[in-house]
Assembly symmetry: D3
Amino acid sequence: MRPSGRAPDEMRAITIETGFTKHAEGSCLISFGDTRVLCTASVEERIPPWLRGKGQGWVTGEYSMLPRATHTRGSREAAKGKQSGRTQEIQRLIGRSLRAVCDMEKLGERQITLDCDVIQADGGTRTASISGAWVALRMAVNKLMESGAIKDDPLTAKIAAISCGIYNGTPVLDLDYDEDSNADADANFVLIEGGQIAEAQATAEGATYDEEGLLRLLRLAQMGCGEIFKAQEAAVK
Amino acid sequence: MRPSGRAPDEMRAITIETGFTKHAEGSCLISFGDTRVLCTASVEERIPPWLRGKGQGWVTGEYSMLPRATHTRGSREAAKGKQSGRTQEIQRLIGRSLRAVCDMEKLGERQITLDCDVIQADGGTRTASISGAWVALRMAVNKLMESGAIKDDPLTAKIAAISCGIYNGTPVLDLDYDEDSNADADANFVLIEGGQIAEAQATAEGATYDEEGLLRLLRLAQMGCGEIFKAQEAAVK
Amino acid sequence: MRPSGRAPDEMRAITIETGFTKHAEGSCLISFGDTRVLCTASVEERIPPWLRGKGQGWVTGEYSMLPRATHTRGSREAAKGKQSGRTQEIQRLIGRSLRAVCDMEKLGERQITLDCDVIQADGGTRTASISGAWVALRMAVNKLMESGAIKDDPLTAKIAAISCGIYNGTPVLDLDYDEDSNADADANFVLIEGGQIAEAQATAEGATYDEEGLLRLLRLAQMGCGEIFKAQEAAVK
Amino acid sequence: MRPSGRAPDEMRAITIETGFTKHAEGSCLISFGDTRVLCTASVEERIPPWLRGKGQGWVTGEYSMLPRATHTRGSREAAKGKQSGRTQEIQRLIGRSLRAVCDMEKLGERQITLDCDVIQADGGTRTASISGAWVALRMAVNKLMESGAIKDDPLTAKIAAISCGIYNGTPVLDLDYDEDSNADADANFVLIEGGQIAEAQATAEGATYDEEGLLRLLRLAQMGCGEIFKAQEAAVK
Amino acid sequence: MRPSGRAPDEMRAITIETGFTKHAEGSCLISFGDTRVLCTASVEERIPPWLRGKGQGWVTGEYSMLPRATHTRGSREAAKGKQSGRTQEIQRLIGRSLRAVCDMEKLGERQITLDCDVIQADGGTRTASISGAWVALRMAVNKLMESGAIKDDPLTAKIAAISCGIYNGTPVLDLDYDEDSNADADANFVLIEGGQIAEAQATAEGATYDEEGLLRLLRLAQMGCGEIFKAQEAAVK
Amino acid sequence: MRPSGRAPDEMRAITIETGFTKHAEGSCLISFGDTRVLCTASVEERIPPWLRGKGQGWVTGEYSMLPRATHTRGSREAAKGKQSGRTQEIQRLIGRSLRAVCDMEKLGERQITLDCDVIQADGGTRTASISGAWVALRMAVNKLMESGAIKDDPLTAKIAAISCGIYNGTPVLDLDYDEDSNADADANFVLIEGGQIAEAQATAEGATYDEEGLLRLLRLAQMGCGEIFKAQEAAVK
């Protein structure tokens, strides 16, 4: 049924290699099958101007694809002189998601930037980015707590994201590129450990879907994020 | 309960003034309470390079806020030299939504651009834009059919969008600015007449929400879009 | 003679609808026939860096055309990433004109920005912008005086602008688009109530003109501005 | 009276050194006192896309100030990544002026670009640019005629430009920087040999002026351009 | 002597992991100690406009640092909207170097882009980029030859690059970041297997150097490149 | 042998006209044959943010070609909105070279910008820029010392630059455009009076070169810079 031969509710293999680069306060290379994203967390003792003097911190995200992460080479955004709408949409989503599980007052007046750079793309790069960014953030916050810079843990829960969609009429979990480019509907869910939803985005492509379809996608996402939470747990131990 | 005194499932007054400008093939000024957006549809007998020779058309959207549409003056994107991530996200949503109800082969090798310019903002500008853009698109397509340029109607259904959210713990419909800036969750639904979903986006702000919350927001949106479909019907008659 | 059937010294109908938007400190929708411009005045309690500490204020203008204000859709300057030379020339003219009738010391250390957004264009958009911007400025200054923020009225006079040109050899007043695109000469005058000139710009297009021609255009402009001053007076009462 | 000790109708010394650079088809270094502008005319056998196939040519202008042409160093527009509104306004004026004396059909399907680069500034750089650009254009056209590329002379007349203004209540000709920065009114006239006006621009600065003032400025400009026409004549012989 | 304890002529460990990403026609992750660069070669069946119809191909390079490749986070060039002078200088060097060993006629009318993205930086990123880019290029060209698209091998030799410098008065090979930031002179050599020089760049920092110094640096580079050629040979076998 | 008929070690005529513009603290027009560059030194009593409070100054360079400095007109970087990689590479080289002979502590907390604008190009514009910039810098520093702003001379030596290359197999000095575009190797040396090297850059074009070739080029450059040092000495006396 699925090009990869996976069952509808079957995820691709997840691996999380922490400490992939040495300078960042937290880093990991996360893989969902052939999708590989390098996530780093950088702590800076400064905050955006509009937050100064409010006794709180900030968490933000940036996202990019290496030019040849994809089947055919894409042009480099730095060379074109601007980031695409898609890039901006994704990095806004990454920042918003991670802020949903971080208490800004406990973080204190500092900023953590989560850079998600896609080394290789095979569908689901934005959800892998969020899932990996949490690992990098967790590591960076641990380091701040160990050094005594932060007293109380600002991270309130794990957060993870997964794509799902309707492929040939069937709801499926964790779309790869072949499925993604032919899906009838395409959804991304960002879920918090414990059952809460941080973000739900579902888009019809070609065919549309109804309330029932939305619910079935959400339930697949809940299953998928359960597996990611376990992989995150193992990675940061 | 609500700052405006509205009931949780009560929309603001909707007005649609068609033919607001004379040059565009279709145009309307749509109001949801104090939110007012000028929507125009421009037909051009050319298509994006990547579509050439495929015998189909294209529908795209652009969005902008006038600098003083808001409480305090925002800087002009043309002067800053780039569109914000928010602007790009919204205009991608507008285009995607309208394409969901347009058969590109019946449209033929031409492009229709839907410009949504916010004259005055009081919450819900992106959903008013989509709802008004459909009216402008309908008018432009009518004109193409009357002139004989198009034979079969490419528009497959009405499409409308509405925001809803959780305000003080209660799901409410059609948020105005006061509610929007204090909501626990903020959702936008783009619905197709007949019950299908084109797009669902729900974001936790501060508090998160669960499956039950998502469903209640969707049902409010279905009620709201019902009213918008009626207003669209009246406008294009 | 004239495509519109007007007499050489006949203006189009002028209407000025004040309070067209609610957030701005002053606003109006001004129409010269089918040319319609939304003018807003925004007061900000900050001044450009080079004026700090000098005990005076600043008045500046910005100008834009909505993409489909014109016969064929123009590309959006925010999307192209820069303002055209024409746009910049016009907004410099708007700011300079309004500053000619405003005493910057009486205004105090604040800035008023006049945004002129062309909703529909049919010739004469820059002159309608200046004429409408004065109304918005007058309203904003009135509000500052009522609140006690300003003591002495900084506005020294009314200011208005009108185009005129030589069409088929005859000097004519208030060119619409059809005339403008075929005129032999094209002039814009910004006049101050009482007979003084703030700005005169006359350009030969195809045919050139001489001293006599320049004078005849100026006299037409004086007639036209007389009518605009009356419309402004009625609008701000 | 005047800071320079000149009489009100006295020009600064004009010099025109032709052939200042060797690659351009026409070039000169024009000086009005301490204002020095390098003007080059470059012929290219291609035309802008919107003119293709119409059997006519195009003349356009570009303008720039070297960073240290002025009293204090200005930042380089290439480094800032955009041309100022003032630069764009001036280069539009240069192109428009030269086109007023060039028959585009006789020019044939080619483009001549007039680059005006200000080496040293002391007031009147835009008018020196236009006056010098005509010399460079004349030389380039002569070369095209000598080579047989053009048969009939496309240049219909000489064109020259001069600034004048009201300084301490007195109309004066050819303002230098000290006068320019303190003038009550500032005007630029572009005149065609024989008495016709191509462009008149007069701006009040501080004080305003009336019809009589405008006429007196125009007459000074006519005197000044008379001298420039002689210098141009001598230069191109 | 050296912060790392290495002998003056001692290189860091070199590793080259080929096939690091799957979409590119050639790819490797090259490491010089802690400096790690992902190099990919992308083949496209199109050439720059100025080469069309000349029967030859093109090889070009692009370079970027991930934001947190360095000790402190650098801002993302795509977000700033332009590439730094340093980035442009390096990518010009990469392209020029690889073209020095590629016969453009044998390559045929196609372009190969070498993307060098620095994953982790510890000095010598540009030289690692060139050395790794050759491996990626070799793999891509092999693929083109295997498929029959190219008949004769266009690569004429191996090419490699290494940095060296004068540190505390002593010429040393393969500078890491600690040395690089304190060196008296800093040189990069691009050498061709067999003894020829493609590029020599030596810059004094603080102290200057003389002919003797330049020669000693060149000889260190020759030793270093010898080792790189062996690593390249092993990698592409 | 050489297109110009010069001997392999023969320089073109060098002229340095100091005080070419009046506003800059130091200026000269330097010519190497037909290559002419206007160099100005501008003193500003401010320093880059990252140097504040360190008790030292800064020297930086900017470089540009006038559009028609070359055989065919190049497009203006200010109009394109960005500086080319070549421009940035050259201006970084200019700044680095001049800093090599300036003691930043003796200079004090001020910045000197060296603007090098190429009026006419015939090969060797970057080396003429550096050689002329030293003259402008020397003049500006003299003025600072005469006024008492600086006590001890911050300039430690003369610095000059020259190109050389391998043309038809023979090492030649001071390449003009005809040679430059056909050279087998192309080198630029920046030398300090007394024999030290500030910068060496040698690039193979087509043919490569070896250690012996590099040395021969360096020796030619030493001869050439000897002549430039004399011309600089005469110019600043």
